[in-house]
Amino acid sequence: MSGLVTAIRREFRLIRRRPALIGLTVLLPLALCVLLAFVFRSGVATNLPVAVVDLDRSSLSRQVVRMLDATPDIEVSARADSLPEARSLILSGRARGALLLPAGFERDALRGARPEAVIFYDNQHMSAGSVVARGARNAVTAASGGLSVSLREAQGAGSLQATAAAQPMLLQTHALFNPALDYVDFLLAALMPAVIQLMAAAATTYAVSLDFGPGRHARVLPRLAGGLLPAMLGKLLPYTFLFMLILGISDVGLYGWLGVPLRGSLLLMGVGAALFIIACQLIGALCFLLTRDFARAISFVGVILAPALGYMGIGFPREAMPPLAQAWSALIPGTWYIQLRIDQSLRATPMDLSVWPVLYLLAIAVALGLIVLLRLDRMRSALAPATARTARRTA
C-alpha cells in the first residue's frame, strides 16, 4: 500500500517537473474543450445567406422575400437576376440556397392558379441546407396561409372560419428533450467527452511509455512501488484524477456557462464518468503494453478512438449502422458514457433504465482491467529473473 502511495507521489512530482507532461495531459485537453465551446457557442445556426431570384417583382413576391428575410434561420444576402447566377453563388459558398419566384407569381396566386415558389438548397452541407429548407418552408407556408385567409375573408367568411378552412388539421410539433434544437446540447455535449476520451487514452500511453518504454529503466518504478501492479496503479491513478478534473471543468462550462439542462442523477453521472475515464486509460495502457513502443501504441489509440465519434451514434444513429459497426461501437466506452449523459442531462430518463449504460461501462472497464492484468503478469515473469538477480547482487 505504501508502495502505491510512493508511486502516486512520484507521478505527481513528475507531472509538476515535466512541462510536456502537464501540457499534454492537462492544458491541451482543456484548451481543446474551450475551443470547441467557442465553436458551438451560438448553439443554433442563424442568418444563413440565401439568394433570391425574384422574376415577378410584385408586391406579393416582395412580401414573400420580406418574410424569408424575417425568419431567424435565413438572411437574404443577394439578389440574382437568373438561376445560373444564383447557382454560382451557391457553388462559391456565398449562398446556402436560393429562392426562385417565377414571373406572374402574384397574378397566378390571386387567380387561384397556384404558382410555385422554388427553394434550392445546398444539401451537400446538410446541416446548413436543412436549416435553409426549414426557414424557407416556414416563410412560404406563412405567406401562403396569410394569403389564403385574406382571400377567404374577401369572400365574406369570418376570420376564425377562414383559418379553420385554410388549415383543417393543425399539426403541433414538439421537439422532445431539446426543444430549441440546440447544437450545444446535441453535439458539443457529446464532442467534449469524445475529445477527452481520446486524450485520456493517449496521455496514459504517453505516461506509461515514460517508465516502460524502450531505453527507459522499466524496473525502477516496480521496485519503488513494491511490485508491478502497484507500480501500474500508481502510474494510472494520478491521471484518473486529472482527467476527472478536466471532465468536471468542461461540465461546469457546459451545464453552467452554456446552460445545458441537467435533469438526472449527479451520482450516476459521477460513477459513470469515473468508469469512463478508467476504461479510456486502460485502452491507452493496453495499447502500450501490447506494442511496448510509444509511436506504434499511439497509432493504435488513434485507430481505435479517433473514428470513435462516428461509431458513438451521435450524428448517424447506431440503430442504422451495419451489425458489425454496432458491435464495435458497443465496445467503445464513449458510446455508453454519452448515452448516460444524454439520459441524465436532456432526457431525465427513469432510474431503472439509467443504470444500464453504467453497467456496460463497468463491464468494459473490468474486461479491459483483466486483460491489462494478464499482460502485466507476462511482463512480470519477463522482469522477474532480472529482479531476482539484482536482489542477489545487493544481498
Partner: protein, 390 residues
C-alpha cells in the same frame, strides 16, 4: 540543384526507411479508409420506429396511422393506449417519435372545425428527429389538404380552385448536390481530406524531428523536401480523394486538373505546416500527441458540419489558417457539387498563401533554432572536454 535532389532523396529515404513513419503515413491511412466510413455504409436512415397514441380510434385516425406507417422514413412499431406508455418507449429508445391523435379528431374534422394532432419527436438525436418529422408530418399534411379539398368539392367548387384555396402558393423544395441526404455522401469527403492532412502532418512532423543535420543551405533543402512530398502525394492524394470515393460509391463530379490545382498547394501548405509544428514542438511523442488530439476539433472548426457562418468571427478567421478548412471546401465544392475554377479560385489562392506563409515561418524558425542549437552543441563539446580532462 544537387542539394535539392539530395534533400529530396533524403526525405523519401526517411519516410520509407522508418517503419514508424511509414505506418503513420501509409498503413494508418489505409486502416482509416476502412474503419472511418464503415458506420455510414447504409447511407440513409429508414423506418425510424415511432409509436401512435390513438385516443380517437376512428376510421380517419386509423387511416392516418396506416399512411404514416407506409412512409419510408418511419415505421409504426407500437400503439400504446396512453401517452405515458409511449413516453416510456421513447426513454427505452424503442421509439423515437410519438403521434398523438386526441379524442374527437374525426368529429371536429367533419364539422369543419380545426382539428389538432401532435407530434413528439426525439430531438436528442437530430437525424432521428428530422426523419420522424418528415415521416409523420408529410402524411398528416396530405390528409389535411385532402380533407379540405373534399369539403370544398362538397360545396361545389372545382378541384384546382379548392386546392389553390387551401394553399395559394405551392412550395417546391429542391435539395441540390446530395438530393437523398445520404450521410456518407455528406460526411465522408470532408473526413477524407482531414484524415489525409492529419496523417501527412504526423508523418512529416516525425521526419522533421528525426532529421540528421546537413550542410546544404536550408532553402534548397526545403525545396527538395517539398518535391518529395509532392511526389509521394501525387499517388496518395488521388487514391484518397478519387479512388476511395469511387470505391464507396460516392458521387464524384470533379475534374482532375481542378483537383491538382487544389492538391498541390494543399500538400505544400500541410508539409510546411508540419515543419513549423515540428520546429516548435521538437519531440516526436509530443508532435504525435498534439496532432492526434487536434483531429476532431479541426474537423468542426473547418465549418463543414457546423456552418462557418455560425462561428465567432475570431475563430472563423483563425480557421482559415488551417489548410484543411480551404481544402475541404474546395474539394467538396469541386468533387461533390461540380464547381468550376471560377468558384474555386479564392480557395486555391488561399492554399497557396498558406503554403508560402508556412514555408516562411519554417525558414524563420529553423534559422533561429539552428543558431541556438549550434551554441548548445558547442557548449556540450566543451563540457565533455572538461569531463575528459578530469
Amino acid at each position: 540543384m544537387k542539394a535539392i535532389l539530395r534533400a529530396l532523396r533524403a526525405e523519401l529515404a526517411a519516410i520509407f526507411g522508418d517503419p514508424q513513419i511509414l505506418s503513420v503515413m501509409v498503413v494508418s491511412l489505409a486502416i482509416y479508409a476502412l474503419i472511418y466510413p464503415y458506420p455510414y455504409r447504409p447511407e440513409l436512415l429508414r423506418e425510424v420506429p415511432v409509436a401512435v397514441v390513438d385516443l380517437d380510434n376512428s376510421a380517419g385516425s386509423r387511416q392516418l396511422a396506416r399512411d404514416i406507417d407506409a412512409s419510408e422514413a418511419v415505421a409504426v412499431v407500437a400503439r400504446p393506449p396512453t401517452m405515458a406508455e409511449a413516453e416510456r418507449l421513447v426513454h427505452e429508445r424503442r421509439a423515437y417519435g410519438i403521434l398523438l391523435v386526441p379524442q374527437g379528431f374525426e368529429r371536429e374534422l367533419l364539422r369543419g372545425r380545426q382539428s389538432p394532432i401532435a407530434i413528439y419527436a426525439d430531438a436528442s438525436y437530430f437525424l432521428m428527429y428530422q426523419k420522424t418529422l418528415t415521416g409523420i408530418a408529410g402524411p398528416a399534411r396530405t390528409t389535411g389538404v385532402q380533407v379540405q379539398v373534399a369539403r370544398q368539392l362538397a360545396t361545389g367548387t372545382s378541384r384546382t380552385e379548392a386546392l389553390s384555396g387551401a394553399s395559394p402558393i405551392a412550395l417546391v423544395e429542391v435539395p441540390l448536390f446530395n438530393p437523398a441526404g445520404g450521410y456518407a455522401t455528406y460526411i465522408l469527403p470532408a473526413a477524407f481530406v482531414l484524415i489525409l492532412q492529419q496523417t501527412m502532418m504526423m508523418g512529416l512532423g516525425l521526419v522533421a524531428t528525426r532529421r540528421a543535420p546537413s550542410a546544404d543551405p536550408l532553402p534548397w533543402r526545403m525545396l527538395g523536401r517539398a518535391g518529395a512530398w509532392l511526389g509521394l502525394y501525387a499517388l496518395l492524394l488521388p487514391m484518397y480523394l478519387v479512388v476511395l470515393p469511387w470505391a464507396y460509391g460516392l458521387p464524384w463530379l470533379g475534374h482532375l486538373p481542378a483537383l491538382a490545382m487544389l492538391g498541390v498547394p494543399f500538400v505544400l501548405a500541410v508539409g510546411f505546416l508540419a515543419q513549423a509544428v515540428a520546429a516548435v514542438l521538437r519531440r516526436a511523442e509530443i508532435v504525435q500527441m498534439v496532432l492526434l488530439s487536434l483531429g476532431m476539433p479541426l474537423f468542426f472548426l473547418s465549418g463543414f458540419s457546423w456552418p462557418i457562418e455560425s462561428l465567432p468571427p475570431l475563430l472563423r478567421a483563425a480557421a482559415q489558417a488551417i489548410p484543411s478548412t480551404a481544402m475541404i471546401e474546395g474539394y467538396v465544392r469541386s468533387a461533390q457539387m461540380g464547381a468550376g475554377l471560377a468558384e474555386l479560385a479564392p480557395l486555391i489562392r488561399q492554399l497557396w498563401l498558406l503554403a508560402f506563409a508556412y514555408a516562411g515561418i519554417t525558414l524563420l524558425l529553423r534559422l533561429g533554432a539552428s543558431g541556438s542549437r549550434l551554441s548548445a552543441a558547442r557548449l556540450e563539446v566543451r563540457s565533455r572536454e572538461a569531463g575528459d580532462a578530469l
